[in-house]
């Protein structure tokens, strides 16, 4: 079923996913400036207009006459940005934790990975809620908080990978040559981790984007008048009887992002490790 196409060694589905992602990213970056409307501009002449409506409201307007095309892709920009930054945070913590644990081995590894197990069993969604409420509802805190609880899988993957690297000859050679441990980790272990780390980062981004929209949906994430896919959907859900497009437009974009990233991550993982998880 999986034929290898020429491009990037990815199959057709994955290349479509990549194309969808590129399109959404381009629209998120440049889309809002294509429209004559601004994110928070009210157009009282066209309130609650359906998609393909008048006055260049390509995807309609909301109940305040704000342009939905501009708001949706400005929201997608925020969601993608938070997704990337939070993934970066969880990547930094996860790689550091996993690499140290895996390289140290023995009792320290057991202790550190046991801690990861305990964290895994925590109802972390509720911790994220308490944390975001506690430390203010700024976008910065949002991605730090989400990243800080999302590093566990990364730590496990990195730890297992490092453990298998530890017994390889080139590491032994570095140890024998008297290279300091920190340098071995940075120069010899880290570069060899980049493959799996990249794959799991790709798989972390959609989870983070979903988490952000979940929090924004509850009113804990990105605050009005700024737009994110989550708070747009919350408004859309409140207005769905009169203006269903307000719900459908941001939903479609969110689902497209999450689905494309998931497909891409799975394809990359299959390529790296044909045996699957």
């Amino acid at each position: 079923m999986r034929r290898r196409g020429p491009g990037l060694g990815l199959d057709r589905t994955a290349r479509i996913a990549l194309g969808v992602l590129a399109l959404i990213a381009a629209l998120a970056l440049g889309g809002p400036s294509l429209s004559p409307w601004r994110v928070d501009q009210l157009d009282w002449a066209h309130v609650g207009v359906a998609p393909f409506g008048p006055a260049a409201h390509w995807l309609g307007t909301d109940r305040l006459g704000r342009d939905l095309f501009v708001r949706t892709f400005a929201g997608a920009r925020v969601s993608l940005l938070i997704g990337l930054l939070a993934t970066l945070v969880s990547l930094l913590i996860g790689v550091a934790w996993g690499a140290v644990a895996g390289y140290a081995g023995g009792r320290l590894e057991a202790l550190m990975m046991r801690a990861v197990d305990v964290f895994y069993s925590l109802p972390y969604v509720f911790f994220v809620i308490v944390l975001t409420v506690t430390f203010g509802r700024s976008p910065v805190m949002l991605f730090v908080t989400i990243g800080a609880v999302g590093w566990l899988t990364m730590a496990r993957v990195v730890c297992a990978q490092t453990e298998s690297l530890r017994h390889r000859e080139f590491i032994a050679a570095a140890v024998a040559a008297g290279v300091p441990t920190a340098r071995i980790l940075l120069r010899h272990v880290l570069p060899n981790l980049s493959g799996p780390v990249l794959v799991y980062a790709t798989l972390t981004v959609p989870g983070v984007i979903l988490m952000e929209s979940f929090l924004s949906f509850l009113g804990l994430g990105v605050q009005e008048p700024a737009a994110s896919l989550g708070n747009l959907m919350a408004q859309g859900a409140a207005e769905m009887e009169a203006a269903p497009w307000m719900l459908l437009v941001p939903c479609t974009v969110l689902v497209a992002i999450v689905l494309a990233l998931g497909v891409l991550g799975d394809a990359l993982r299959d390529r790296m490790d044909p045996r699957g998880r």
Binding site: M1, P123, V125, I129, V130, V133, F214, L218
Partner: protein, 306 residues
């Protein structure tokens, strides 16, 4: 068995302490928002709830109460203790969660086995595409969409509400809550069933002339249950988190109600109490699945504990 249950106590202790600390690090207190409050009255209120004492003393007082199963009074919803509020919400959330988990299990097993044994590749591929979509769409998207289609356009079911837990009020929330887990389970079951189907003992069962249906039910199904059970803990945690949004969208009086408001209003006992109850539920289910795994797969019981 008893040892495993006792092993939960330190984890719960860590959770309780972490939650207490995080909640208290927050600036502001439960009586800040009411501008009309005279300083003397505020001081009196804080004294009544013990908020004027040192943090360490409050912490030990809180732990002591917790050991007796007392979660304290709610600071914002006066006249109610947290225990009372949870006693109202918990049955609703448990009904919702249990039904959603059941639906996800039955549906996931059925669809997964169907995909794995489908004669025509098109069936398999369609099912996999649909389940990929199901995983990508979170319950807070499906919930309003379902309400829109079945409540507003078709008038089949109520858009929202809760009249003493009538079945018609439960249908949409349960479906919305179950879908992502159902989709994930279907994929899990498919992968695991495909692996089992290629094993020699299945070939033996077929070779001795067992009808295909019996091969599936008696030989393939139990083996595919192992990864399904392993995923049950995370699945339950996901369903509990999802129920938070589902309860908001459909206006159900469950545990999720007041949690967000409580956190925003710094109603410490309420937030801590609810987080702890959620934690007990998740940990309890994790333990139950671990034990069930040992019962189902003797290798887990005898060997190292995974």
């Amino acid at each position: 068995m008893l040892g495993r249950v006792l092993g939960l106590v330190p984890t719960l202790f860590i959770i309780a302490s972490l939650a207490f600390l995080v909640a208290r690090l927050a600036p502001g207190g439960p009586f800040d928002q009411e501008q009309t409050l005279a300083p003397e009255i505020k001081a009196n209120l804080e004294h009544a709830y013990g908020l004027d004492r040192p943090l360490a003393e409050q912490y030990f007082h809180y732990l002591g109460r917790l050991a007796h199963g007392d979660l304290g009074p709610s600071m914002r919803l006066r006249d109610f203790t947290v225990n009372e509020l949870i006693a109202v919400g918990l049955p609703v959330s448990l009904t919702l969660g249990a039904l959603a988990l059941l639906l996800a299990l039955v549906g996931g097993l059925g669809l997964g086995l169907l995909a794995a044994t489908a004669r025509r590749a098109a069936v398999d591929r369609t099912l996999m595409a649909v389940t990929a979509l199901g995983i990508a769409i979170p319950p807070y998207v499906t919930a309003p969409l379902l309400a829109l289609v079945f409540g507003i356009y078709l008038h089949w079911l109520p858009v929202a509400g809760w009249e003493g837990g009538a079945a018609r009020d439960l249908v949409l929330p349960v479906i919305a809550l179950a879908l992502p887990t159902l989709a994930y389970l279907a994929r899990l079951v498919r992968a695991s069933a495909l692996e089992v189907l290629s094993l020699p003992y299945v070939r033996t069962a077929r070779a001795k002339g067992l009808p295909e249906r019996l091969v599936l039910v008696k030989h393939v199904l139990p083996a595919t249950l192992v990864p399904v059970l392993g995923y049950l803990g995370p699945a339950a945690a996901g369903i509990l988190a999802g129920s938070l949004v589902i309860e908001t969208v459909f206006g159900l009086p469950g545990m999720g109600r007041f949690l967000v408001e409580g956190a925003l209003n710094r109603d410490y006992p309420l937030v801590l109490g609810k987080v702890l109850v959620y934690a007990v539920l998740v940990l309890g289910l994790n333990l139950a699945t671990d034990l069930a795994l040992g019962w189902l797969d003797p290798r887990v019981r005898r060997g190292r504990r995974a």
